[in-house]
Symmetry: C2
Subunit: 167 residues, 2 copies
């Protein structure tokens, strides 16, 4: 349910985008959604500062995030609204929510419930591998794992649900 | 110049994406670019942990970032390769580069040269406004400034260059 559809009860928490000055220096949320109707969202751990994931929100997910204080996303692989932690219990409570200069990106600082993980592979952060800089020319850049063990077993948590990673 | 074009001299630092296991658990960089040929990049300050910006890289920008250790992006508003700081001097030296689980997002931890700012509006971070949660229903969500003064004057730095913010 999009709240911007006629006939729905909840009014939109978003202002129209009228001028560059209003978007950059104003005090009303006027988010820009891309051609797929999505806005990217950087989510960091409020305590450690670590980047946990980069997700996407549609209008409804952003509206629900603001209304509830709990992170909601749009799952691009499953094409559905996604209350983070609905299956795993690893919900994200928002400590601080930011919008960027041109209002086309969101930053959430969150506290993760349960074991504190946010990655479907079982790691704490989705960004569990570093990229080697200035590597040997002609070979794929090498990755090094920064987390040596998984926080949870995705098979136990997600069962037979399809893996969201797409080639 | 894309290095994946036939006839160019520099070989690609990217591996092909063959299986989900290879992408999620492998040690070769096999990035996924979207339908516009871009991959999003979260850039944080290596010292403070603050999210400075969310940018986008095409293949060439990602390759140059890896080769030089300095952040390069693709400017969607100007439609050109963008060595961050080329005009402002506020270059970003990479301390740590990460790739996420399905390899469709990059995280850079950087040290910013000069005054330490990364936002074209003149603030330190692009995310200089918080979004009020659970605000009064029926009104646009309110924003509060977290930075009270600009780090630099964009008019002095960028002159008459067009503002990248688009409505």
């Amino acid at each position: 349910m999009s709240t911007d559809q006629p006939g729905t009860a909840t009014p939109s928490p978003f202002a129209a985008r009228s001028t560059v000055e209003q978007v950059e220096e104003g005090v009303a949320l006027a988010p820009k959604f891309d051609s797929d109707g999505l806005i990217p969202c950087v989510t960091t751990d409020a305590t450690s500062g670590e980047v946990l994931m980069l997700g996407y929100m549609n209008r409804e997910a952003l509206q629900l995030t603001i209304a509830t204080g709990e992170a909601h996303y749009w799952s691009r692989s499953r094409q559905c609204l996604w209350r983070k932690g609905a299956v795993s219990g690893l919900t994200q409570e928002i400590v601080d929510m930011r919008i960027d200069d041109d209002q086309d990106a969101v930053w959430l600082r969150v506290q993760v419930a349960g074991g504190g993980a946010s990655c479907h592979v079982g790691y704490r952060s989705c960004f569990y591998r570093t990229v080697e800089l200035r590597g040997r020319s002609g070979e794929p850049a090498r990755l090094t794992f920064t987390e040596t063990s998984r926080t949870f077993d995705p098979k136990l948590v997600y069962g037979d649900a399809p893996n969201p990673t797409q080639l």
